[in-house]
Symmetry: C2
């Protein structure tokens, strides 16, 4: 397997580490960053790359200022696309992905922007060029939410989905319960601990969950829903007494994403909800994640877990490559 990597942040570095640690003998032919690239058509020495760490510019193959146009014609089977995400335009990732698909290169990405923006178009382009797009990393990372829907539920109709997909809000709600502190106090603490970002809007306003649910609906239920259509409520209105009252009823408050059918129209709703002990996601705590699919012929299927972290996100990239690559083991001469 020949690989190209665009984006060399936390997950990109963890991905190279993972190939090293697992002794996977794939060839990484280039690593493209925003300000240059290292290229070796015989495959980079990954042990050596690791030794350079953040000083990758000191690598003998570093080409300062090299850009996408310098690597696009290098023959690879998989482009691992891990540039910073842009939810409005999907750029520059979406252009990288489109150009690569046109050249018959499979894509594996952890980048929500392009998938949110135009999954349908990218999928069509991939099919036209007989390649595939792996997006497991975009929804929950190590939690197999995409393969869970595509493979584990294959042949069944997914009637609805519920999911807890945002670790930060899950943590804040847990801590509000434990410490009996207000939302504002708990958020501040979480920010100090580095669990919540200094601008926590994406997480606490529910956008992160809304984006993930939109991707799930579009990918697993073949919809074409935009983020603006999601009914969104954020967790900052949840009070300690709400949580206490829920606990008295043996319930918990969670930031729940919900995809459901309303007169055959698929709708998405994200907001704090009280769930009781019998709910399949009741046990999802802290940084844990979970998804619950209701299907017609396979019954209810719930998947919980998948660790959170750059290494685990990288492992979900690796999972997609191995899965998509197995499609070539059988019946393809490539």
């Amino acid at each position: 397997v020949n690989i190209g990597l665009i984006g060399y942040g936390g997950v990109g570095k963890a991905f190279i580490d993972l190939l090293n640690e697992k002794n996977i003998k794939w060839k990484v032919r280039y690593i493209l960053k925003s300000d240059g690239a290292i290229i070796d058509k015989e495959g980079l020495d990954l042990d050596e790359i690791k030794r350079f760490q953040d000083n990758i510019k000191l690598h003998k193959n570093w080409i300062d200022g090299a850009g996408f146009e310098d690597i696009i014609d290098i023959d690879i089977d998989f482009l691992v696309e891990l540039t910073p995400t842009n939810m409005e335009t999907g750029e520059p990732a979406i252009s990288y992905i489109r150009e690569s698909l046109k050249r018959g290169i499979n894509i594996v990405t952890g980048n929500k922007g392009p998938i949110l923006k135009d999954y349908r178009g990218l999928k069509r382009l991939a099919e036209k060029n007989k390649v595939n797009i792996g997006i497991g990393c975009t929804v929950g990372g190590a939690l197999p939410s995409i393969s869970g829907g595509l493979i584990d539920c294959a042949g069944a109709n997914i009637e609805s989905m519920e999911a807890i997909l945002n670790g930060t809000t899950n943590y804040i709600l847990d801590q509000m319960e434990e410490g009996e502190k207000t939302y504002e106090e708990t958020l501040k603490e979480a920010q100090e601990l580095g669990i919540a970002e200094s601008n926590p809007t994406m997480d606490v306003k529910g956008y992160d969950t809304a984006i993930k649910m939109t991707i799930l609906a579009n990918v697993l239920m073949n919809e074409n829903i935009s983020l603006e259509e999601v009914q969104l409520e954020c967790i900052d209105k949840v009070t300690v007494s709400d949580i206490k009252n829920a606990r008295m009823r043996d319930c918990k408050i969670k930031l729940l994403g919900r995809i459901y059918k309303d007169n055959e129209k698929v709708k998405i709703q994200v907001g704090p909800e009280e769930i009781d002990k019998s709910h399949p996601l009741y046990s999802v705590e802290g940084k844990n994640k979970g998804i619950y699919y209701r299907t017609d012929t396979l019954g209810d299927i719930t998947i919980i877990g998948g660790a959170s972290g750059t290494m685990n996100a990288a492992a979900s990239i690796l999972r997609d490559i191995i899965f998509l690559n197995s499609q070539y083991v059988i019946g393809n001469t490539k």
Copy 2:
């Protein structure tokens, strides 16, 4: 997709129903029973088949006494193998499967016997002939325990697995708790309700779980363990006071299958175990099933659910065909 079906019991009939209900336009070229077959190389009219139900011998295409030799040369992509299982020899299924693999036919089966007997040999034969074997139905039916391990955990090492895979024993243990009745009384009631079989050995002695765990270890951890190596303890020693004592500690007793490494050697253990609230399978009740994978790079992943019944088992057969067939969509001219 061209299909042949061997075995026309509950799951076989439900599979034909499912193709009808879901309006899937695959061609079923034959249905082989133990005493004859119906064959139509243009594809059987499945609506018509359904109307015949148990009187399939009255179908105009019925060939009394037809056997495997009469259908083996019919060109199909997938053999759906659903004959009654034989745990000792794997026959006749294992011969049907071997002959079909040699002819480049993919197999999807719900038959534990051949998989228990010689998964490694069958897999090798499949690879040699560039086809595949779908066995999702053999371990938990609609619960995606096999795809969960193969796809959702792809690229990670599965370090251990724990699972609750037998509905009958789960039901008996639940009822002993609820009704405060002895094992013998509860078993008798379950037999009267048709939940436990008149010869309950397979379930209550733990053989059913042991067989499923053996298949999981051999398929997902590339082992070659035989049923005799499983450490087996059955549930008939569990008393009502054991269950009461567990409940006082907020614990439950479950028939748990466990695959673990002991000095790098993979071992399997099946028996009643007390699990506490924090255990990922604590919520698995009644006919529900669940499996918990501990992995190195994707963290802990738990899958719970998948309805029990002939239709749901048939849906797991359909799931395997769709999944394996998608491997042909890309990169194969077939």
